[in-house]
Amino acid sequence: MSLWDHHLILLPILLPMVMASAMLLFDERRRRLKSVISLTAMAAILLVALALLHESMTGAVDGGDTARVYRLGDWSAPFGIVLVADRLSAMMVALTSVLGAGVLAFALARWDRAGPRFHALFLFLIMGVNGAFLTGDLFNLFVFFEIMLAASYGLALHGSGEARIRAGLTYIAINLTASLLFLIGVSLLYGVTGTLNMAEFALKVRTIAPDDRGLLHVGAAILGTAFLIKCAAWPLGFWLAPTYTAASAPSAAAFAILSKVGVYVVLRLSLLAFGDGAGASAHFGQPWLLVAGLATLAFGTLGLIASRDLSRAGAYAVMVSSGTILAVAGVGDKAVLGGALFYLIGSTLACGAMFLLAEVLQRGVDSGGQRERAVFDDEYRDPFDDDERNEPGLVIPAAVAALGGAFLICTLMIAGLPPLSGFIGKLAMLDGLARSVSPASIAVIVGLSLSSLGGLIGLTRLGVGALWARDDDAPELVVGAAELAGMGGLLAACVLLAIFGGAGLGFAEHTAEWLGRPDAYIRAVLGTTP
Amino acid sequence: MSQAILFWGLTIAQALLVAAMALAAWRAVRGPRAQDRVLGLDTFYLNGMLLLLVFGIRTGGSIYFYAALIIGMLGFAATVALAKFLMRGEVIE
């Protein structure tokens, strides 16, 4: 194995971290340099992520049916920390990178100047998210969760302002509590099983003494609660809408992936440790996932309909997306899961794009973070008050048409209407659900359909208001080239996903199937046959 | 016999120190004024440190020395900050 190849899996974590730390060594005023650094970093991460994805699809061994394992510090699992890149992880990392690249491009137009150290915080966020996706260790997962959250606190407050701070306070308090729950859960699992490695944990679940199983379940339940908070599952996700609405557009867009981290962990752990082979613990918590997912789906849809502005609708779209996947995970049908994974990709990108779009459309009329009252002490003014800074870079013509098109794509993606990838994912889920008729699947079918309709109703209402029925005194729509490039990139990815839907869906289904066979994962990590 | 004296001596010493801590805590809870509470905390720290020393003797390990040393050297920083806050309303000016 070549040097490059061997350490490939580390790069999605290390690259952003090193670049971000390097950036700290330079003065904050060297904006151009920092932009270049972070763009380079993001591009490199994207390349690495795509390489990982490609490898996980076409891997040399077993046609991609294994996982790439990296032993940090050269300590073998389960003792040391391992990074594991299987199909799911690679997919999520690639998704993060695409989203991150788009968001960063958007931010370069102006938002990176709304507060100090945006680039470093952004790269740290990417690091945390990628780490959470790649790690194969429960406590290390906690650490990456915290990196991700710490960066997200910074980004949520980026640009400052009363609304952001008010929402940020709740956001931080709840996530701190969730972190405590996470710690309790992880340590309890350690206390019962004596391990922190996910793969070994999955093995121990199978063989645990019946006497200890109850405690194990308590730990898993508490851990699950922590993750559901992160997924913004109802009734634990009320923090999401205010926070994401108040956050600056690039931050909110990047946050679209955060709730997916929660979803990812739920999927990963429930399928790895509580799958079919887990004996008495098989399918532990699954009914709760179904209930929570449906409730989240319903609440998100209602919220979407009730939204008064686009960024809030975007926030609820994030909830809808989590709810959908959780509900499907609760049904527990592998055939459906593939569709859900495919849906996850598209909906995340679309939600991200939605936040960006919302900012452009509501620019000047929004009541976002900073307009109401200047919160500066030393500089009593708007972050963009400065004329020189106010320009979103090169302005492109035909903004209305371009934004209208972008909005249309977002709407189709979020509502899951044809012909884009949002639809394909929904179709795949519905198709799978319709095959096995059970009360659960019927409930999910109804939920999915209604949420599509609700999404459509809510978004057209807002879109018509934002694009077609603009007030006369509303500022003219202006969109910078960088902003459009960022949004356009995300939306183009959605379109590409639809065109190559067959391949994409095939990958997602293959991934779901791989997740259904945890033994292969365990073997890859521990090197032993379970 | 002498071992027993050592054992009981140390045990009672510990008990006394814990009792002292309890009294200090009582002062911290009761007040009545802020300076009394801070004084209570200071005493609490002092007795806690002594407890660690006695604990070190009891277990025969010298590893706990550092914990005691840190209380001795740096524990006062917290109390100074509190006192300064009381006096000036600001810890760093």
């Binding site: 730390s21 700290l24 940090l72 003792f79 915080l121 009730a306 048409a401 209407l417 | 806690g48």
Partner: protein
């Protein structure tokens, strides 16, 4: 050319054309029109070229794989039915394009209009060419979408926006139902392929799910075809430019529902549900549409309701379930498209030239535009079912079918009457359309003098009207073959019944009914015509209440309001309830798992020794402090800080007691820093007084809240205590720790296992942890840079002010002397402590690998050393002397830690692989050197940077405040 390629051209050309048109500049009206025209012509020619291929019920197929795992491919499937629909779409499309070139104003972005129009055309082609159920649903939704864009084309108008939204909502709702229905059908049939599904008729009908599927599919068809009770969106859609109305809302899109019914007809056509729903909806729509049409004043409104009525007629024909009915339905679909499109275009011309479509203002236009008038009269006659025109033929077939089937159900028996009545209405509104517009006195209320439109704008109307005539006179030659192939596609070659397209069937019942209807209509106009034109009662008589559009809008606002209500009821943005929910959810989850799985406790009461009692006493104190801290935190914040410190110390002692010296060290150090941080923050919080009393109601509420919270807190405490006790009393499980203890020295090079875990076995955790610290540092800095304290915290604290006042100023003292005296002694001590603390930090750092200590502890100790200087001397004094660049420290710390890990990669070992070696140094002897120490150095730098950053950034707020005050004073003095 191969048929595959032709098929592809038919579908793809419009979409390609749409993409190109979208890219044209805003004013390229003619270019866009020519492009669109060419596109539709190319498609039409391709379609025509395919005609000879399937006269006898053959089917052309082209499959392009898309989603193989779902069995969804892009299948282009052309049979007689698709052909005739496709021809209709493309043909009328071409004419509408031509018309629109002249209709659209150059002020509008016309290329975009054509782009949408072409895209819509493509989507319609997609629907009719679908060989796959899902594909059909996909294109179905696309037609809704483009229709939305077209209706909303003049989005400056509120009515256009509302109409567009309503149309989209209703049709998309139907589309979703259709999709689910299709999925169900596909699931039952085992395939989404249309041919397979048609072949699996018996399987489908045998499955109980098919009823649901059918209902859902019908929902789709009925919404799209504007059937009662979903008809209301169509009149609202008239806000669209007239070419759109002519194209979408008469000829094509609304026919998609008909097409779907025809497609499903072979499978479900004979079922009960089909009959009741389809025929029921059809007859209701037929009548209501016709009735409402009579009362319209807007030309387009009249035509819209007339369209609804005619669609109802077709749907009714399909609902009857008889083969002849299906044939009649196809025939009438074609006929309706021709005459209604021409009528819409005529209405558009009138609107264009006269400036209004209001029949109350229009009158006697025939004099000004005789050609248009003639064309409109012919088309309206076709609509009314006047013989020698195409409308008459299909209406005859309809009446014949109604009469033939008038047995069995009561509905059937009533049908002939209802059909005749509806036909009479049709005659009435057709008459009104013509007479009110073209005849009578010259118009008075117009802004301009109307005249004939440009010739090319009239051409499409002429062509369509000519077609009406041609088909009306020579049906068998003109439309016969196409109708036959379409009928074959629906009914199958073998089951094709006999039908005749002759003009004259002899005197029979249908003819009588036709005559009755014509006569009745004319009579009615004679009686009510004038009244209708003024219509003092307004709206359709008897049906004013039945305003679907209004109800729909009510429903939509209701939904939004309801959603907001639910959102506010089931959600909250307040922090306390959310935290409560989080805590309760965790409790519930844990409790549910515990009760389901059972948690056994095996208490182990070995007789407690003296030290156990001491330990218990210790925690009695510590617990008391914690509770007291909780109790004091509201009004006596300082007391809470103090008591928390005490509780923290007790937990430090516990760590020492239970063999965790590292934890004790770290916790102690962190404790100190946290206390200082909190105190720094306390200065900016508002004063809180116990004596401010809330209202009585509030008191009661808050007391109840507290009680609940107290219970929750107690339960949390019990639960956590229970769980930890359950674990602690269990025997240790064999886990990963054995490995750590065994290898710490031999492979990690350190005796302090905890530290070796931190910097070696699980260094990646530490790596992440310091990153968190760094990030927090950055965030704190960012936040505080824009910190604005509340107004009541602005002035210097009372203490300070009072202090300055209290000092005996008289004796020639300067301000600030007081401070210097106060801090005289502490300053000396704290300054000289500085090097000693540094020594301590160095020791903590160096010994970490073997004894308690380590990078983090060293870093915090160093920060405290700096902090002491700040407290003793003030920020300015320190910063003049010590150059602290916390962000640089953070940056270097992270870089060093990462760099240390990266060195391993240079040796082709995994990241963070450590190496250690005993080195023999001269004089010093054997000294252990572990690469992990370098990593730890990074930790130290970062911790110092981050901690100092937080403290200093916070401390600087006071400084800045003071500086600002001084500046303000200066400014005041200067002024």
């Amino acid at each position: 050319m191969s048929s595959n390629l032709l098929l592809l051209v038919i579908l793809a050309a419009p979409f390609l054309g749409a993409a190109v048109a979208a890219g044209l500049p805003r004013h390229a009206r003619t270019a866009a029109a020519i492009l669109s025209w060419l596109v539709s012509l190319v498609s039409l020619v391709s379609l025509a070229a395919l005609w000879p291929r399937f006269a006898d019920g053959e089917v052309l197929r082209l499959a392009i794989p898309w989603l193989p795992s779902l069995g969804v491919s892009l299948i282009l499937r052309l049979d007689g039915l698709s052909w005739i629909f496709a021809a209709l779409i493309l043909g009328i499309g071409a004419l509408v394009v031509l018309y629109a070139r002249y209709y659209m104003s150059p002020k509008d972005p016309v290329p975009r209009f054509f782009s949408f129009l072409l895209a819509f055309m493509g989507a319609m082609q997609g629907v009719v060419l679908s060989g796959n159920l899902i594909q059909l649903a996909v294109f179905w939704e696309l037609t809704s979408l483009f229709s939305f864009l077209l209706i909303g084309y003049w989005h400056q108008n509120a009515s256009a926006r509302e109409g567009a939204r309503m149309a989209l909502t209703v049709t998309a709702l139907g589309g979703l139902c259709l999709l689910v229905g299709m999925i169900l059908i596909g699931g039952i049939a085992g395939s989404y392929d249309l041919d397979d599904v048609l072949a699996a008729k018996s399987v489908i009908l045998a499955d109980p799910r098919s009823v649901v599927a059918l209902a859902l599919v019908l929902m789709g068809a009925l919404t799209k075809s504007a059937q009662f009770p979903f008809h209301f969106w169509l009149p609202r859609a008239m806000a669209a430019p007239t070419p759109v109305s002519a194209y979408l809302h008469s000829a094509t899109m609304v026919k998609a529902g008909i097409f779907l019914l025809l497609r499903m007809w072979p499978i479900f056509g004979q079922t009960e549900l089909w009959y009741f729903v389809v025929a029921g909806a059809g007859v209701a729509t037929l009548l209501i549409g016709a009735w409402c049409a009579i009362f319209q004043h807007d030309l387009k409104g009249l035509l819209a309701y007339s369209t609804i009525s005619h669609l109802g007629l077709i749907v009714l024909l399909l609902g009857l379930g008889s083969p002849l009915g299906a044939i009649a339905a196809i025939f009438h679909t074609v006929n309706h498209a021709t005459f209604k499109a021409s009528l819409f275009m005529a209405a558009g011309i009138i609107d264009h030239e006269a400036g209004t479509r209001d029949m109350r203002k229009l009158s006697g236009l025939y004099k000004f535009m005789p050609i248009t008038g003639t064309l409109a009269i012919v088309a309206a006659a076709a609509m009314a079912g006047v013989p020698l025109l195409n409308g008459f033929l299909s209406k005859e077939m309809f009446l014949a079918e109604v009469v033939a089937g008038s047995d069995g159900h009561a509905l059937n028996a009533a049908l002939p009457v209802l059909a005749t009545l509806a036909s009479a209405f049709g005659v009435l509104y057709s008459l009104r359309f013509i007479l009110a517009t073209f005849f009578g006195p010259p118009p008075t209320a117009l802004d301009r003098v109307p005249h004939e439109p440009p010739a090319w704008m009239r051409r499409p109307v002429e062509i369509l009207v000519a077609l009406c005539l041609l088909v009306g006179v020579l049906p068998a030659i003109t439309v016969g073959p196409f109708l036959r192939s379409a009928a074959v596609a629906v009914l199958g070659f073998d089951d094709l019944p006999y039908y005749s397209l002759a003009l004259w069937h002899g005197f029979n019942m249908p003819l009588l009914l036709s005559v009755l209807a014509l006569g009745g209509g004319v009579l009615a106009y004679a009686i009510f015509g004038q009244k209708l034109n003024t219509n003092p009662r307004g709206g359709p008589w008897g049906l004013k209440r039945l305003n679907g559009g209004y109800l729909f809008e009510k429903a939509m606002t209701g939904i939004v309001k309801g959603a907001r209500w639910v959102e506010s009821r089931l959600g909250t943005e307040r922090m306390q309830p959310q935290l409560r929910l989080v805590v309760l959810a965790a409790l519930a989850a844990g409790a549910a798992a515990a009760f389901a799985g059972g948690v056994a406790i095996r208490p182990s009461w070995s007789s407690p020794g003296a030290s156990e009692f001491i330990f218990a006493a210790l925690w009695l104190t510590g617990g008391g402090c914690a509770v007291a801290a909780a109790w004091q935190a509201k009004y006596h914040r300082l007391a809470a800080v103090v008591l928390m410190g005490a509780a923290g110390l007790v937990s430090c002692i516990t760590f020492v007691w239970m063999s965790a010296p590292d934890l004790a060290l770290t916790q102690l150090l962190v404790e100190v820093v946290t206390t200082v941080l909190l105190l720094l923050g306390l200065r900016w919080l508002p004063k809180r007084r116990e004596d401010i009393q809330a209202s009585r109601a509030e008191l009661v509420r808050s007391r109840r809240r507290r009680r609940v919270d107290l219970v929750i807190a107690a339960v949390v405490g019990l639960a956590l205590a229970f769980v930890s006790y359950a674990v602690m009393t269990r025997p240790m499980v064999e886990g990963i720790s054995r490995f750590f203890v065994e290898r710490a020295y031999s492979e990690g090079g350190g005796r302090n296992v905890v530290n070796v875990i931190l910097v070696d076995f699980r260094a990646f955790d530490t790596f992440g942890e310091i990153t968190v610290l760094g990030i927090v540092g950055l965030t704190v800095l960012a936040l505080l840079r824009r910190f604005r304290p509340a107004s009541d915290s602005l002035p210097a604290p009372n203490q300070k002010q009072a202090r300055e006042r209290a000092g005996p100023v008289a004796e020639g003292r300067k301000a600030g002397d007081a401070l210097r005296d106060t801090m005289l002694i502490p300053r000396v001590v704290m300054r000289w402590m500085f090097p000693f603390v540094i020594v301590l930090a160095v020791h903590l750092f160096l010994r970490g690998h073997d004894l308690p200590g380590g990078g983090f502890a060293a870093g915090v100790a160093l920060s405290i050393a700096v902090l002491l200087q700040y407290m003793a001397n003030g920020a300015r004094w320190v910063e003049e002397r010590l150059l602290l660049r916390p962000i640089l420290w953070i940056g270097w710390g992270l870089t060093i830690a990462a760099g240390c890990g990266l060195v391993a990669i240079g040796f082709n070992r995994p990241f963070l692989t450590s190496a250690f070696q005993y080195v023999n140094l001269p004089l010093l002897g054997q000294v252990p050197l572990a690469s992990a120490v370098v990593f730890d150095l990074g930790v130290v730098l970062l911790v110092v940077g981050a901690t100092v950053l937080m403290l200093v950034a916070l401390a600087h707020q006071s400084l800045r405040r003071a500086r600002d005050d001084a500046e303000a004073e200066q400014a005041e003095g200067g002024a």
